[in-house]
């Protein structure tokens, strides 16, 4: 094993938390069951890394093998990356081709390798419906940097791909080109939708988030819910009717299913300043009032859902906020009509 490959393997092992070491090495599927049994998982990580390196040297591990371990690690830790969503489209009237994984992979690799001499492209099919692509970038004169790769997750037979934020801006168009051509599409657009939660992004673009108990809105269950709400608080609300209305509207807007997980939404507002207090301040000003509003939360949509019931927002909440999953966007530019 080359020195740089051993070093790459060592650093990858060091990244893996000890609690996940066993499952990640198993998922990697490079070392045999017997070999895995011999590894002492209760020692210091740098000794453990050394042990794994020795086993891999016996099996003559190549760079490609170690890269696969890095993909497995990233699959376990996909929330550590910020994912961008891309939507591709075909020419109108064009036939849907049958997807051939081997053809896709070789075509993707060829496009990148033709443009850049030094590039490592690797693939791993994941849970049968997606392919993970890892690209390590080099230049004409330098070897690919294995420590700052870009990840692409593509769902064959769909127009959607998710790409981790890339530090090399000039490689982005090339990546789009490879993806578009290999998957036989004609256009690729960047949706204004970003999150660390790849699974939630996937749920949003494939509209999978509302599949469970979608038709839960029968009057009986609503009344029960509001009744229990009153009992819980042990307070008689004068505005019970309003509470029930807020509850109902919130449920109509957000549904009863768990919301997909996003961490932020951003709105660039360039609208005319209007305020119903102070008697038409800035009313004569022609220029828009420019501001940038950012919402951030560990679980944005659940937080927004709780605003109206908590009395912090009106019910229904603004469509600007509630349209996030349906519009597949969390970056907006708002102007007056």
């Amino acid at each position: 094993m080359k020195e740089n490959v051993a070093e790459f393997l060592r650093r990858t092992i060091l990244k893996i938390p000890l609690s996940e070491m066993k499952s990640i090495l198993e998922a990697w599927d490079f070392l045999s069951e017997d070999q895995l049994q011999t590894i002492n998982l209760k020692q210091r990580k740098d000794y453990l890394a050394q042990e794994v390196i020795l086993l891999c040297e016996d099996k003559r591990a190549s760079l490609d093998d170690v890269v696969l371990l890095d993909i497995v690690y990233t699959q376990f830790h996909r929330h550590q990356k910020l994912w961008n969503v891309f939507q591709m489209s075909k020419e109108p009237g064009e036939d849907v081709d049958l997807f051939d994984m081997e053809q896709f992979q070789s075509s993707f690799k060829r496009i990148l390798q033709r443009a850049l001499k030094n590039v490592t492209v690797s693939f791993r099919v994941y849970e049968k419906d997606s392919v993970w692509i890892r690209v390590a970038w080099g230049t004409q004169y330098s070897q690919p940097n294995q420590y700052k790769p870009t990840f692409v997750v593509y769902y064959p037979q769909t127009p959607y791909a998710f790409i981790s934020s890339c530090h090399l801006k000039n490689t982005v168009p090339l990546l789009h080109q490879a993806l578009k051509v290999a998957s036989k599409h004609h256009q690729i657009v960047h949706l204004d939708l970003r999150s660390r939660h790849l699974d939630s992004l996937k749920a949003i673009v494939f509209r999978e988030y509302n599949q469970t108990c979608e038709n839960y809105s029968s009057t009986t269950s609503l009344q029960e819910a509001s009744l229990s709400m009153c009992l819980d608080s042990k307070i008689t609300h004068e505005n019970t009717e309003e509470k029930v209305r807020v509850h109902r509207v919130t449920q109509e807007t957000f549904g009863t299913y768990p919301q997909p997980q996003l961490e932020f939404a951003q709105y660039k507002l360039e609208t005319k300043f209007k305020s119903n207090i102070g008697g038409g301040l800035l009313a004569d000003r022609k220029e828009p009032f420019r501001c940038l509003v950012k919402f951030s939360s560990p679980h944005l949509l659940e937080a927004l859902k709780s605003l109206a019931p908590a009395g912090i927002a009106d019910a229904p909440l603004s469509p600007l906020l509630t349209c996030i999953p349906s519009k597949k966007m969390n970056y907006f530019k708002i102007r007056d009509k």
Partner: protein, 329 residues
């Protein structure tokens, strides 16, 4: 708005009563009255004068002031210092550095000959005050002496703190001459050093430090007054950060306004020449709430303002402030 007017009037009336009372009162009585005043529901001033440039600014050492800018300071309130003397700054430097070295060596097995290369410097910050009667501000720095004495390298600053008083004459009136009122202490550097310095000051000058939180009420005052400042150029947006106490997930809302637009709004709100009033601050904030509500249907007034930042300065409710730029004249 009516209630604000009422509150403003009472506060002014009460202040003048207090002034009459103070004539001929002993420092102790004054101090007791001050404590009572602070404990009672004493409202914040309903109007504040916009400070004009004074001859004080001529005393300012621009290099020293530049040193205070662009740093994040954690602020503390400080009771008056007993028997503090500006003529003893050199002695204080020596005593405090000996104290720090002793504290750092406590319980540590020190190799013979190993030197804690630490130096403490006290120096005055001329002109950093509101009126001539305010005490001079002073600066304390902990430096690490450079190892190679041959090279004339600059000492590295490990920790900085300063003590100041701006428009604090009413405080000074309440204490006897043995006390020096510098009610604000600002620290930048490792927490462990801050606590050492606090220990030494508490022991030496019989004073007491307490962390100073900035209420949402005061944050909106700061936002309004900083937005009102004339700047040569606007580097940063006027940004408000609200924290929404909703369960099960917390939510932060940042509302960043183009500085020119924030200024335009302020100018349409601001009517009283030479001062800023509570009504104006309320109107400014309410306008921003209203514009926000029109778009998002969220009532920001029901949430908690935790940070404001402008081209001039920024402040966080947990008592952290940063001053970025000088006012243009």
């Amino acid at each position: 708005m009516d209630s604000c007017d009422f509150r403003g009037l009472t506060s002014r009336r009460r202040t003048s009563n207090l002034k009459n009372y103070f004539v001929g009162a002993t420092p102790l009585q004054k101090r007791l009255e001050l404590v009572r005043r602070q404990n009672s529901d004493f409202p914040s001033p309903s109007r504040r004068k916009i400070p004009q440039c004074s001859q004080l600014q001529e005393d300012i050492d621009p290099q020293k002031v530049a040193f205070l800018l662009h740093k994040q300071w954690t602020i503390y309130s400080l009771t008056p210092l007993y028997k503090f003397s500006y003529s003893n700054l050199k002695d204080y430097s020596r005593l405090l550095s000996a104290f720090i070295v002793a504290e750092k060596q406590k319980g540590v097995a020190v190799e013979v000959g190993e030197d804690f290369n630490i130096k403490v410097i006290f120096s005055t910050l001329l002109g950093v005050k509101g009126t001539q009667r305010d005490h001079e501000a002073f600066l304390v720095q902990i430096l690490s002496k450079s190892q190679s004495s041959r090279e004339h390298r600059e000492d590295k600053v490990l920790w900085t703190g300063w003590f100041c008083c701006v428009f604090g004459e009413s405080l000074q009136e309440t204490v006897s001459e043995d006390f020096t009122c510098l009610p604000l202490f600002l620290a930048n550097g490792a927490e462990s050093n801050t606590s050492l310095i606090r220990d030494w000051f508490q022991k030496t000058f019989d004073c007491c430090f307490s962390p100073l939180a900035i209420s949402a009420f005061n944050l909106s005052w700061m936002a309004a007054m900083w937005t009102a400042c004339k700047m040569d150029r606007y580097m940063a947006t006027t940004e408000f950060l609200w924290s929404v106490p909703c369960s099960p997930q917390s939510l932060d809302i940042s509302y960043a306004i183009h500085p020119e637009d924030a200024k335009a709004l302020w100018e349409s709100v601001h009517k009283t020449p030479g001062e800023v009033t509570q009504e104006e601050v309320d109107l400014f904030m309410n306008c921003l709430y209203s514009h926000f509500h029109r778009h998002f249907k969220i009532h920001l007034a029901a949430t908690r303002l935790v940070r404001v930042s402008t081209s001039v300065a920024s402040a966080h409710t947990d008592g952290k402030i940063k001053v970025s730029l000088n006012r243009s004249n």
